[in-house]
């Protein structure tokens, strides 16, 4: 773009930080502070880990630190490559085909090849930001730890940049080819689902490798010795392995590591520049055909089910809105992975000690309800705010807001309760605690599964954010944090109500006898109040609140 474009963009960024409204400034400052905190904590953690590993490796003479480091880096670069590819694929569909800015720029006299290159660069920046956020502190710590910090720094930066560029080029090329056969909006959903599935598979793979083995010192020593004494195989055509080898050599002070690192960087750069050059004509062709405005109306003959009652219509509309949310499939994929991880944990639960089984039954119940809280924060809390401008229409209709809120709750409470009961039930099947503990655990799962979505829908209605761009922004607002705090409190109360041993422990600390029934009663009363009060407040607030300031 031209100089004026860059100057405007810079001024606009400054305006958000310096001259925006107080809430915007506070959010921007809080974001910056959180970022600096994260970087500081990561650097401190890495420094500590480095010191500890140096001390440990000093005792283990047979282990070659370079082998360990190269293996660690190979894993990290492979993760960066895969995440970079999946991230670029999803992002590129948006930046190259659904961007209103690109549509506006394409009406101005810019060469289309240049516009594609610009969007590709934008894709790369957006998709590689998480990798850079994690890698930058690690690079700084690693460079500072060696005797030749500048050499070490560039030995890490060059292969990392090479891997990011290669992943970006592959992701962008895949996005172009993907949209050639599938319309962009559907392609973005599929790509998001693919990314979430990839992430879920990675999580499950990590869990299936049983990393808890490393908590056993003997097992950990055996793993470290095996990895630290066996030399690595040649990198072949694997860019992640090349990157790891180059970075390891540089970090150990060998200037020879710069050469493969630089070669990888130049290959990545060449691939990245080649994609817009080779595919801009294809992009122009697909972009013209795929503009959302020219999409044909589908299924004109399909009338859908008839409206039998207002309640049915509301429920159907709410379910359709939830399922048609563009980010739902992707986020459900990640949450499904967490659900499966929890189920895999069940296999590792203690089997013999009755006291431990009772304690874990309580903890598993709390964990199930906490998962329901996380789900509700994403899918129930933002449900009112996502009405956006439609809130004005809904307000104008002769429709009781209580019915709207109940429909929102019902659609979300059903799966939430199912998940809570499934997780708690699976844990109970394995643990086989006493009948009373099982009954209380199932009751807590049922009541919590119904109450937590109600709490979130209600608080979401009390603190609506009609102007928020997406559900995640709504969920991360002050009201969202409040909802999560309340629902986490309910989950903790359920844990104590279920587990006799936990109450015994608590009683010993407080020096008093803690029977089950007050906790069960308190949980039931709190859950009922937490469900009904916010819903009632929301129903009243929705009829009186000025939507414009929501």
């Amino acid at each position: 773009m031209n100089r004026v474009f860059r100057a405007n963009t810079l001024r606009a960024s400054g305006r958000v930080l310096l001259a925006g409204d107080a809430r915007g400034r506070l959010a921007a400052m809080a974001g910056l502070f959180a970022l600096l905190m994260f970087l500081g904590l990561e650097m401190a953690g890495l420094e500590g880990a480095l010191r500890a590993s140096r001390a440990a490796l000093g005792e283990l003479r047979e282990i070659r630190p370079a082998f360990l480091l190269e293996r660690l880096l190979a894993g990290a670069f492979a993760a960066a490559l895969i995440l970079g590819f999946l991230g670029s694929l999803t992002t590129a569909i948006g930046t190259l085909f659904l961007s209103e800015e690109l549509a506006a720029l394409s009406t101005l006299p810019f060469p289309h090849r240049r516009l594609v290159l610009r969007q590709a660069l934008l894709t790369l920046v957006l998709a590689s930001a998480p990798t850079l956020l994690l890698a930058a502190p690690a690079l700084l710590v690693a460079a500072g730890a060696g005797g030749r910090p500048i050499l070490a720094f560039f030995s890490g930066v060059l292969p990392l940049a090479g891997v990011i560029l290669l992943a970006g080029a592959a992701g962008i090329a895949a996005a172009l080819l993907f949209v050639r056969v599938v319309p962009p909006r559907r392609a973005r959903l599929l790509a998001a689902f693919l990314s979430a599935t990839g992430l879920a598979v990675a999580l499950l793979g990590f869990r299936a490798a049983r990393p808890e083995r490393l908590l056993d010192p003997l097992e950990a020593l055996s793993v470290v010795t095996r990895l630290g004494t066996a030399p690595l195989s040649p990198p072949g055509l694997n860019p992640a392995a090349w990157a790891a080898r180059a970075a390891t050599r540089g970090l150990f002070g060998d200037a020879g590591g710069l050469l493969p690192g630089a070669a990888l960087f130049l290959s990545g750069l060449a691939a990245f520049l080649l994609v817009p050059r080779a595919l801009w004509r294809l992009h122009l062709h697909v972009f013209r055909d795929a503009r959302p405005g020219v999409a044909r109306a589908a299924g004109e003959k399909h009338r859908g089910p008839e409206a039998r009652s207002l309640a049915t219509v509301l429920l159907r509309a709410e379910a359709a809105s939830l399922l048609r949310d563009a980010s739902t499939p992707a986020q459900l994929g990640s949450l499904a992975a967490v659900f499966l991880l929890d189920l895999m944990n069940v296999r590792l639960l203690p089997g013999a000690d009755a006291s431990a089984r009772d304690l874990v039954a309580g903890l598993q119940t709390g964990l199930s309800l906490f998962l329901v809280s996380a789900l509700s924060l994403r899918f129930a809390y933002p449900s009112v705010s996502l009405d956006g401008r439609a809130a004005l229409v809904l307000r104008a209709l002769p429709l009781d807001p209580r019915r709207q809120l109940l429909a929102r709750w019902a659609v979300r409470a059903l799966p939430a309760t199912g998940i809570a009961l499934a997780l708690t039930g699976a844990s109970l099947l394995v643990l086989r605690p006493t009948g009373a503990t099982s009954a209380v655990a199932l009751l807590a799962a049922l009541v919590g599964g119904l109450a937590i979505p109600a709490l979130h829908v209600g608080l979401g209605g009390v603190f609506p954010r009609y102007d928020a761009p997406n559900a995640v922004t709504v969920a991360l607002s002050t009201g969202g944090v409040l909802a999560l705090v309340f629902s986490t409190g309910l989950s903790l109360l359920a844990t104590v109500a279920v587990s006799d041993d936990l109450r015994l422990l608590l009683g010993a600390l407080l020096k008093m006898h803690l029977p089950a029934w007050p906790f069960i009663t308190a949980f039931l009363i709190s859950a009922t109040a937490a469900a009904i009060t916010p819903l009632a407040l929301a129903a009243s607030s929705l009829t009186t609140r000025d939507i414009a300031i929501g």
Partner: protein
């Protein structure tokens, strides 16, 4: 100009016009003076330092129109330019379009407002499902089957004559 013009949300109208001016190789005081002229012509002076995202629909439409006129184009392609404009702004735009055409620019606009087309167009075409089914002057349009009539007559005839709500 598209029917739903995109304006960079965090930029101001003046910055938007400055960017478009620079794209068409306008620079310095000459560009700034021209921006002032267009801002005044589209009644945007008081909004010139506000962020585009805070502007109303009609004001955004006027910024997009100012953008289109800024570089004295030889060809103006406008999709539904009157949408969101108040009657005064509509009158102002009609005059600007007529002046541009008189100065030699080609103006191609699409509209659903038959009265507007009949008032300002020298050549009119009727599109049905993306196909050109009649062309001529607004007072004398000729269909492919050879029928002639005014724009309104031909339109309502082809549309079946039944007004839709």
């Amino acid at each position: 100009m598209p029917d739903r013009p995109y304006l960079w949300p965090k930029w101001t109208p003046r910055e938007t016009l400055r960017f478009v001016g620079a794209v068409f190789a306008r620079r310095g005081p000459e560009l700034e003076d021209r921006i002032d002229v267009e801002l005044a012509a589209f009644d945007l002076t008081e909004f010139s330092s506000q962020r585009n995202e805070t502007l109303s629909h009609g004001t955004r439409q006027r910024v997009a129109l100012a953008q289109a006129f800024l570089h004295d184009p030889d060809v103006l392609v406008l999709d539904e330019p009157m949408v969101g404009l108040d009657p005064l702004a509509q009158r102002g735009l009609t005059e600007r379009l007529a002046a541009a055409a008189a100065a030699g620019a080609a103006v191609l606009l699409t509209t659903h407002q038959l009265a507007l087309a009949e008032e300002i167009a020298t050549v009119a075409g009727l599109l049905v499902d993306g196909r050109l089914v009649a062309r001529g002057t607004p007072r004398s349009l000729v269909t492919k089957t050879g029928r002639t009539g005014t724009l309104s007559e031909i339109f309502f005839d082809l549309a079946g004559g039944t007004p839709r709500p």
